[in-house]
C-alpha cells in the first residue's frame, strides 16, 4: 500500500506538469484549431532561457517567471511571423500540422546546434521532504503542484468570467459568428497564443526541474505525453486536459512502481486508445468531427 500511495504522489507531480502544459496546448487549439506540434519546442526554449538565467545566479522560481513571459512572446512571435501568414496563404488543417512540425524541427535542432547534444540541469535544491501519511514530496514538488493548481484554476475562472475568456470561448464555438458579434478575433487569437506560450514556459521549467536533466529535444519528447493527456480529455477542453493529465500522470507513475518503469508511457497510451475506442471524441469534447482552422 505504501508503494501505491507514494506512486500516486509522484503521479500527482507528473500530472501537475502535464496539466499546466496540456491546458496551454488545448486552449490554443480550441481557439485557433492549429495543432501546434512546436509547443514542445517553446517549452524547451523557455526552459533554456530559465537555464541561462539560473546559471547566472538567478533563483530558479524567478527564472521560471521570466521563462513564462519569454515563452508567451516566442509563441506569439511564431504565430505572427509564421503561422498566420501560412493560414492566410490558404493552408488547411493538415498543411498547418506540417508547418508546425517543420518549425519544431528547426527550433529543436537549431538549439541543439547551439548548445550541443549534452544534458543540462538547474541549480536548485529539491528542498526539505514532507511526509503526509505515505506521500513523500519535496518542497520543490509541492511548489510545482501549487503552481499547477493556481494556473489551471486561473485559466478556468478567466474563461468563465472575463471578457477575453468569453471571447475565446465564443471563437472556439463559432469563429465567424464571434467576428460578426464584434469580437476582435485577431487580438483574441494573439492572446490565446500568448497564454499558451506562458503555460508552455511554466510547464517547460517545471518539467526540467522534475526530471532534473534535460537536452534540446526534451520538450518535444514530452509533447507526445501532453498530446495524449489533451486528446484523452477531449482536445479543446481545458477541463478535459486537467482530467486527462491526472489520469495519464497517475497511471504512468503507478505503472512504473508495479511494472517495468521503462514501459510506463505505454500504459498511458493504452488508456488513451481504450478511451478513444469507446468515446472517439475524448472525455469532454462534444465534437465528433474536426473543424476548419480559424481565420
Amino acid at each position: 500500500m505504501a508503494v501505491f500511495i507514494s506512486a500516486v504522489g509522484f503521479g500527482i507531480v507528473t500530472a501537475a506538469i502535464l496539466a499546466i502544459s496540456a491546458v496551454g496546448f488545448t486552449l490554443q487549439f480550441s481557439v485557433t484549431n492549429v495543432f501546434n506540434l512546436a509547443f514542445g519546442s517553446v517549452m524547451t526554449l523557455s526552459g533554456f532561457v530559465a537555464y541561462w538565467l539560473n546559471s547566472a545566479g538567478v533563483n530558479v522560481w524567478l527564472a521560471m517567471a521570466v521563462a513564462a513571459v519569454s515563452g508567451g512572446l516566442i509563441s506569439l512571435a511564431i504565430n505572427e511571423v509564421l503561422y498566420t501568414p501560412f493560414i492566410r496563404h490558404g493552408l488547411n488543417l493538415f498543411g498547418m500540422v506540417i508547418v508546425t512540425i517543420s518549425v519544431a524541427v528547426i527550433f529543436d535542432h537549431g538549439l541543439q546546434a547551439a548548445v550541443g547534444p549534452t544534458f543540462f540541469s538547474y541549480v536548485a535544491p529539491a528542498g526539505k521532504a514532507f511526509h503526509f501519511a505515505d506521500f513523500i514530496l519535496t518542497r520543490q514538488e509541492l511548489i510545482i503542484i501549487g503552481i499547477a493548481l493556481v494556473l489551471t484554476i486561473l485559466v478556468q475562472i478567466a474563461l468563465q468570467y472575463t471578457r477575453a475568456g468569453k471571447a475565446m470561448r465564443g471563437l472556439a464555438v463559432n469563429a465567424s459568428l464571434a467576428r460578426a458579434c464584434g469580437i476582435p478575433t485577431r487580438r483574441v487569437i494573439a492572446l490565446a497564443w500568448f497564454v499558451s506560450g506562458v503555460l508552455a514556459g511554466v510547464g517547460g521549467v517545471a518539467l526540467f526541474l522534475d526530471i532534473s536533466t534535460f537536452s534540446a529535444t526534451t520538450g518535444s519528447e514530452f509533447l507526445i505525453v501532453i498530446i495524449a493527456a489533451a486528446v484523452l480529455g477531449g482536445i479543446g477542453s481545458p477541463r478535459g486536459a486537467v482530467l486527462g493529465a491526472l489520469v495519464v500522470g497517475i497511471v504512468t507513475e503507478v505503472g512504473a512502481a508495479y511494472w517495468n518503469p521503462e514501459l510506463k508511457d505505454v500504459l498511458a497510451f493504452g488508456v488513451l486508445i481504450a478511451v478513444l475506442l469507446v468515446r472517439p471524441q475524448g472525455l469532454f469534447s462534444r465534437l465528433a468531427t474536426e473543424r476548419a482552422i480559424t481565420r
Partner: protein, 335 residues
C-alpha cells in the same frame, strides 16, 4: 574505380531506391488520398525487423549475443515477402483502430502516439528485437553468391533494389493513373462526392493505408538487409517527417515527382551537408540536415506547394462545354 568509390556509389543508389519506395508508399496515403500517417516510419521498422528475424538463425544459436523472436533462417525472397505481409497486417490493425471512427485530426495525433509507443516497447522489451541495441548480423541476400567478390555482391544487391523500385513504380503508375486512382483523389478532394457515387471513402483510406504500409515495410526490409543492422534509433518518430518533406518537395500525388523528391531530400540533403564548411562534428551535421529539411518544407509550402513536378490535373474540355449539371455527373471528384 576504387573499391571504396564503388561502395560509396552503391550505397547512395541503395538509399535512393529504398527512400523512393517508402516515399511512394507515403505519397499514396498522404499525396493521393490525403491520409495523414504520422506513424509511417513504424511500418518501415516493422518490415526491417521482420526481414531480419526471418533471415537470421534462431536466437539461441547466437550464443547470447542478441535476443529476438522467430529466427527461422528463410532463404532470399521469403524475408522480403514476409516483411511486406507483416507491414500490411500491422497497417490493417492500426487502420482499424484509427481510421474508422476517429475524427481526422485525432487520427493524426493517435498515429504519432502509436509511433512513439512502438519505439518505447522495442527499446524496453529486450526479448522482442534485442532492445535499444537492435539487431545486427542480418544476412544479405547477396551472400547467396558465395563464390563472387564482395563488390559483385554489393552490385547484385543494388540491382535487386533497383528491380524492386521499378516494380513498385509500375504498380504506383497503374494504381494512381486509373479509375481507382480517381476514387482515391476524390477522397482527398471531396469525400461527400465519392460517397454519393457509391464508393466508400473509409474503405479507400484503409486500402491505401495497407498498401502504403506494405511498401514502407519493403523499403525497411531492403534497408536492414543492406546495412546488416537495425535498431530503434533508426526509426524515431521525427523520421516520418523526412518522407513528408520528400512528398511535398517532389509534388503531392505525382509519382515521378515524389521519386525526385525522395532522392533530393532523403539522400541529397545528407550528401550536401557533408560538403558544407561547418566542420565534421556529427551532431552538428545531423542538426544541419534537420534544419535544412524543415526549412525546405516551409519554403516549398510557401512558394511551390504543388512541388517540383506537380500532379497533372486532367482537364475535360468537352465536359466543360456541356451543361454544368452533366459535367458534374461525369467528373465529380475534381481530378
Amino acid at each position: 574505380m576504387s573499391a571504396a568509390t564503388q561502395y560509396y556509389i552503391a550505397t547512395i543508389l541503395v538509399y535512393i531506391c529504398v527512400n523512393v519506395i517508402a516515399s511512394w508508399g507515403l505519397d499514396l496515403q498522404f499525396g493521393v488520398t490525403g491520409v495523414l500517417n504520422f506513424a509511417f516510419i513504424l511500418f518501415q521498422a516493422a518490415g526491417a525487423y521482420t526481414a531480419a528475424m526471418l533471415s537470421l538463425g534462431p536466437s539461441s544459436a547466437s550464443g547470447g549475443f542478441q535476443h529476438y523472436l522467430i529466427g527461422v533462417n528463410l532463404p532470399f525472397p521469403l524475408p522480403l515477402i514476409g516483411a511486406m505481409l507483416v507491414g500490411a497486417a500491422l497497417s490493417a490493425v492500426i487502420g482499424l483502430i484509427t481510421l474508422r471512427r476517429l475524427r481526422s485530426d485525432y487520427q493524426a495525433m493517435v498515429m504519432l502516439v502509436i509511433s512513439v509507443v512502438a519505439t518505447v516497447v522495442a527499446e524496453s522489451v529486450i526479448g522482442l528485437a534485442n532492445g535499444s541495441a537492435g539487431l545486427s548480423l542480418i544476412p544479405n541476400p547477396a551472400q547467396l553468391l558465395g563464390g563472387f567478390t564482395r563488390q559483385t555482391q554489393t552490385w547484385f544487391f543494388v540491382g535487386l533494389c533497383v528491380i524492386c523500385m521499378l516494380i513498385v513504380g509500375v504498380v504506383m503508375y497503374a494504381l494512381v493513373y486509373s479509375p481507382y486512382g480517381r476514387v482515391l483523389r476524390g477522397v482527398r478532394e471531396n469525400e461527400a462526392a465519392v460517397e454519393a457515387m457509391g464508393r466508400s471513402a473509409t474503405k479507400a483510406r484503409m486500402q491505401v493505408f495497407v498498401i502504403g504500409g506494405a511498401l514502407a515495410a519493403l523499403s525497411g526490409a531492403l534497408l536492414a538487409e543492406f546495412i546488416g543492422a537495425w535498431a530503434p534509433s533508426e526509426w524515431l518518430y521525427p523520421e516520418t517527417f523526412v518522407f513528408f518533406t520528400a512528398v511535398i518537395v517532389g509534388g503531392r500525388g505525382s509519382v515521378s515527382g515524389v521519386a525526385i523528391g525522395a532522392a533530393l531530400v532523403a539522400v541529397g540533403i545528407q550528401q550536401a551537408v557533408q560538403y558544407m564548411p561547418i566542420g565534421s562534428d556529427p551532431t552538428l551535421l545531423a542538426a544541419m540536415e534537420w534544419i535544412i529539411t524543415g526549412l525546405l518544407t516551409l519554403i516549398f509550402l510557401w512558394i511551390r506547394p504543388q512541388g517540383l513536378l506537380p500532379e497533372q490535373r486532367r482537364r475535360y474540355r468537352r465536359a466543360r462545354q456541356r451543361t454544368p449539371a452533366r459535367a458534374e455527373v461525369r467528373e465529380p471528384v475534381g481530378t
